[in-house]
Point group: C2
Chain length 286, copies 2
């Protein structure tokens, strides 16, 4: 699917470092083309210390919207005019929309995650969740799940310098929602087993298992048939955790559709239109 | 002709104010598409006082090249790393190429003009030229014609505050080339007639005749069959000057192909490849 560009074509983009490999430009440009919207979505490799200049540049060029990926999701916040409630909670922004010169930031990572589960008929409301990791992606998933009515979330993270900060994040989410949160030490394997045993959903939101990393943080004997196992990694498509889930007869999903649905949510914020999901799945993900 | 954009697609653009109506994006994007080059060319409306920020933004986004139109052709110069000889002479830059982070500026307006005349088998070498106007476009035409071997150029301009500056420009061009230049008062109609009588080429490089302006600076009785009459205006396609030239049986040409060939020259500077002129003529100009 291709675009015809003119002097009227509006700029949209992704800022990240690295960024050139991202599927987002293809996903959005194809959607613009399918819906006849006059935008071009590019990817700009911008270092962390340049994020302020990059935002100023996008204001100058009157970009309608842009996405942020590593390492900018938190660093971008001081340069925006306003951020959403969930971005306040997670201190993370992946989507910015330019509303007549006012830059509004939010994160669609959590929505992307929650929407991706619906593909396999899994709904967050009243569920108990065990999540591994407490970084930006994990926080977005936690906050969105709490907002969407999850009953309890166990957060397992390494006992390091940022443990206090995770406790404070969990407290903020608890105060803002009716969800119960418990922050646990990743090294406590007995507690991990207990948490998984009472959970309907297990999420890996760490980078353990990415690329050539064959590790999984969860012993395969902790998995079971009626557990939904989600890994937000999509390279490789099948991590060791997902392979173990498959072997256990569990339902499982990698991070591809989270990527698709976070993009779809951003697309709708910018354009007011639904992304043509079925076509984009075919051309970008299958 | 359409483009397929990805995370690897490079940015190019036009900076101007106003700028959205420009044919340049269509011309360059179609050429990229025809030659399979992975760039997207957009137009950014940037005010004169923002040109420094805009250049910084294009450095940050690693744009491979960009064009300048009004009001930036002179204002951009302090923000570039190096400019060509002809840009030094004319104090005008319409094309910038990013050579591994070093921004090199030049003007292809003069080349565009000279190349456009070749369409009608007119060659500048050894010719005598009368040109009306001494603004940026006029200077580029004068300097390029002098560099390309014109014998003599009569420059007619209004006797105003910038007359001294035009004299100084003419002196610089004379010193740099073997062309003789004479700066004349636009109000001196007898001198205008004398100059046209000894010229093979008459050029209107003022905006008299643009849009709804039906005036011509040249009495129609000054025109003759063996004079080439060029108007750099292209809206309207047929100015009063060109209509008078037609009536006099002269060869004439408007500014469309100057626009085409300045773009073709810029395209080659950026990509090292020839613009597919015949296809671009058909899709953008005919």
């Amino acid at each position: 699917m291709k675009l015809e560009l003119s002097g009227h074509t509006g700029l949209m983009c992704l800022l990240g470092h690295p960024v050139k490999h991202s599927i987002s430009p293809k996903m959005h440009n194809e959607s613009f083309s399918l819906l006849g919207l006059d935008y071009a979505y590019l990817a700009f490799d911008v270092k962390e210390e340049q994020i302020g200049e990059a935002v100023a540049a996008l204001r100058l060029f009157d970009a309608k919207g842009f996405n942020l990926t590593m390492p900018h999701k938190r660093a971008v916040i001081p340069y925006l005019d306003k951020i959403s409630k969930i971005s306040e909670l997670t201190e993370s922004v992946n989507t910015v929309v330019n509303q007549d010169g006012c830059l509004f930031g939010t994160t669609t990572d959590g929505i992307g995650f929650v929407d991706s589960l619906k593909e396999k008929d899994f709904y967050i409301r009243d569920k108990v969740i065990t999540i591994l990791g407490a970084g930006g992606a994990a926080k977005s998933i936690i906050a969105q799940s709490a907002l969407d009515g999850a009953k309890k979330i166990y957060i397992f993270k390494r006992m390091n310098a940022s443990f206090e900060e995770t406790l404070s994040f969990a407290k903020k989410v608890e105060d803002a929602t009716s969800c119960q949160l418990e922050v646990c030490d990743m090294a406590d394997m007995a507690l991990l087993k207990e948490a998984i045993d009472v959970s309907q959903l297990l999420v890996n939101a760490t980078n353990v298992g990415m690329e050539d990393d064959k590790r999984s943080l969860v012993p395969k004997e902790y998995l079971r048939k009626d557990l939904f196992v989600s890994d937000i990694i999509y390279h490789p498509a099948m991590t060791t955790l997902l392979q173990d889930a498959k072997d256990a007869g569990a339902t499982y999903q990698n991070g591809e559709f989270m990527l698709l649905y976070q993009g779809a949510a951003a697309f709708e914020i910018w354009t007011g239109k639904k992304m043509p999901i079925d076509e984009i799945k075919k051309s970008c993900f299958l």
